[in-house]
């Protein structure tokens, strides 16, 4: 009897469904203009990284240059004792 009722219930209520995969995909994929904006940001970021590396190299070069110079008095009439080399 129960099987008959279960079958009757199933037969009584067909449900039509639609394909929602497109809606889901559209919601989880960022829109194309956002993607191009992201690419542009990434490009700028790598430019900044390159510039940072160049600046760091320049700082190192300047430091080396400074440490190679002989110690000199930095104020007139001041004693040179106590002055230290930059390293």
């Amino acid at each position: 009897m129960e099987m008959d009722i279960e079958k009757s219930l199933r037969d009584a209520w067909p449900v039509e469904t639609v394909d929602i995969s497109g809606r889901v995909a559209a919601a989880i994929e960022p829109p194309p203009d956002l993607l191009s904006e992201l690419r542009e940001l990434r490009r700028e970021l790598s430019e900044l990284r390159r510039t940072t590396v160049l600046l760091q190299d320049e700082i190192v070069r300047l430091r080396l240059d400074l440490t190679r110079r002989p110690v000199s008095r930095i104020a007139p009439f001041a004693p040179s004792e106590g002055l230290v080399r930059l390293s």
Partner: protein, 167 residues
């Protein structure tokens, strides 16, 4: 699911295609045949899964997690609109060709909708979607024994309600 967890949208699309119809059918019947809201709810469930793909803990199958989410969204919808109107399936869409059978179909749908929300969810998942008691228990956050007792209670109620048609 593991590939979807890594952000593979093609793998996620395959998951959507596999489970979308069962979720829509369940939501539609929970809401009395409102297939438009059912589609919205199913989309919402998949978006939640995508957002939480890193943290979702699955025991075995993904379906109970999705059903749980759809069930919660349906309960929210029912709280917003407590009186659900049963959407008529229509005689032409029904496999029943004669009027008497169409009337039985209509009575059967009405009987399912008269069940409490708790009993209805169990009947829809067990009778219509063929989920096991364990899967239903996981989806509805209740023990498997409660699933069995709710199904018994629901079937008793439905048998009583449809007794006139079984003679």
């Amino acid at each position: 699911m593991e590939r979807a967890r890594m952000g593979d949208s093609a793998a996620f699309d395959a998951l959507v295609k596999r489970h979308q119809h069962a979720l829509q059918r369940f939501a539609s019947r929970m809401l009395g045949g409102d297939s438009s809201s059912a589609a919205d709810i199913a989309v919402g469930a998949f978006l939640r899964l995508w957002e939480r793909r890193d943290s979702v803990v699955l025991n075995e199958s993904l379906l109970p997690w999705l059903v749980k989410t759809v069930h919660r969204l349906c309960l929210d919808r029912l709280r917003e609109r407590p009186s659900v109107e049963l959407t008529d399936v229509g005689v032409s869409e029904s496999p029943f060709l004669d009027l008497e059978r169409a009337a039985l179909a209509s009575a059967a749908r009405a009987a399912v909708m008269e069940l409490s929300v708790d009993l209805r969810a169990v009947v829809l998942l067990s009778v219509y979607e063929g989920l096991s008691y364990e899967e239903i228990a996981e989806a509805l956050d209740i023990p498997a024994g409660t699933v069995a007792s709710r199904k018994n209670a629901a079937m008793k109620q439905l048998r009583r309600r449809l007794a006139a048609w079984s003679e």
